[in-house]
């Protein structure tokens, strides 16, 4: 391939664009990797893994019955739990529509003594979609199955 100046210039442009694309993708992947590390579960926070971060994200499930809304403001307190830990959270703002008992949430904020002061609360939902009737029927079937299994265990062999 002969290298006249125009061709050389074009080749340089192409190489620069390719290099820029690679660097951009690399940076984004790196940033995401870092970003994801900011997410801690309540038990990880309790074992001090988040102590080096001033602001971090707390992920877990809203403990059933723990939501307490203030009567005269947007202030709300609730507890986020994971398999072995729990963390009280305070938040002042509008909550997503999916925010409710047993919903996965990701809260951004900082620790204030033993409380997590959230500045943003996001609800995470799963990839399942079905009508309410089906969900209820499945929940019922599941309960029934559990009852049957328990009953089966009690049966003399």
């Amino acid at each position: 391939m002969s290298m006249n100046p125009t061709r050389k210039r074009r080749l340089t442009i192409v190489l620069l664009v390719v290099a820029a694309a690679v660097v951009a993708v690399g940076l984004i992947v790196f940033a995401l990797q870092q970003n994801m590390n900011y997410l801690f579960t309540p038990s990880q926070v309790q074992t001090g893994q988040a102590s080096s971060y001033k602001t971090f994200r707390l992920g877990g499930m809203v403990k059933a019955g723990s939501i307490q809304r203030s009567k005269d403001s947007l202030k709300v307190t609730f507890t986020v739990v994971d398999a072995s830990g729990s963390m009280p959270v305070e938040y002042n703002g509008i909550l997503p529509d999916l925010f409710r008992d047993n919903q996965s949430v990701i809260a951004t904020g900082h620790m204030d003594s033993a409380h997590f002061m959230a500045t943003e609360v996001l609800a995470k939902h799963d990839e399942t979609y079905m009508p309410k009737e089906l969900k209820d029927a499945m929940a019922k079937a599941h309960e029934g199955k559990q009852v049957n299994e328990e009953a089966g265990q009690d049966k003399p062999q």
Binding site: V17, A21, A24, L32, V121, H125, D126, E127, K132, E133
Partner: protein, 269 residues
Amino acid sequence: MANWIPLWVHKLSSPPNFYRFAGVVRPWALGLALILGAIALYGGLVLAPADYQQGDAYRIIFIHVPSAWMGLFIYGLMAVASFISLVWRIKLAEVVAMESAPIGAAFTFITLVTGSLWGKPMWGTWWTWDARLTSELVLLFLYLGVIGLYHSFEDRRQGARAAAFLAIIGIINVPIVHFSVNWWNTLHQGSTVRILGPSHISTDMLWPLLTMMVATKFYYIASLFGRVRTDLLSMESGKDWVRQIAGAHGSADAVSAGRAEAAEREARR
């Protein structure tokens, strides 16, 4: 061209033949897209029940997910066509690659906007720097990069070659978008519809989704073929077959657009 390519492919890829072929296929593809799209919309907006968690807000899925699939599908196709155009220098492959980019960008843009409109009420935010959302944004930038690079060269074939390079490099992003929800702990949930294993969606919601997926595929064919026809005409504007088409069009709508020119010709005679 490589001699192992079947003769009919060779014949079809000649610009005048493909121009005619695309002209025949295009109305059928658009018709199917509209019919299937209407069925999918009726199924998704009217027949499908509300979701147990999200109520009616989940109905955005019927355009969000098919658009997201198209964004990835078109990117893959564009990269393959780019590769073919670089290696075998087939003009048609180059045109297909370059004209796929705006359609892919349109679908990716739709995905981002509808996702944002869905994320606000459900997640509680319009946007978050989550792995799925960020990689989808990178996909849009890649499309815009391909379009921009293509038009930044004075010589369009040179531009197409540079843009094809970027399209091929950018293919790394496609698996990143797809697997981001598995590789990182993201706010965006995992895949609902799976090719392997059961889908996480009830049948009355699944069929409108899949119907819309097929409709968007047909739409892509219709849109692409229209774009390719336009490009082939302007690329080959010096050739006889294009002049014939221009002439035929001229006599067909001489009453409207061509009147001035016709009058001019008359005056010169």
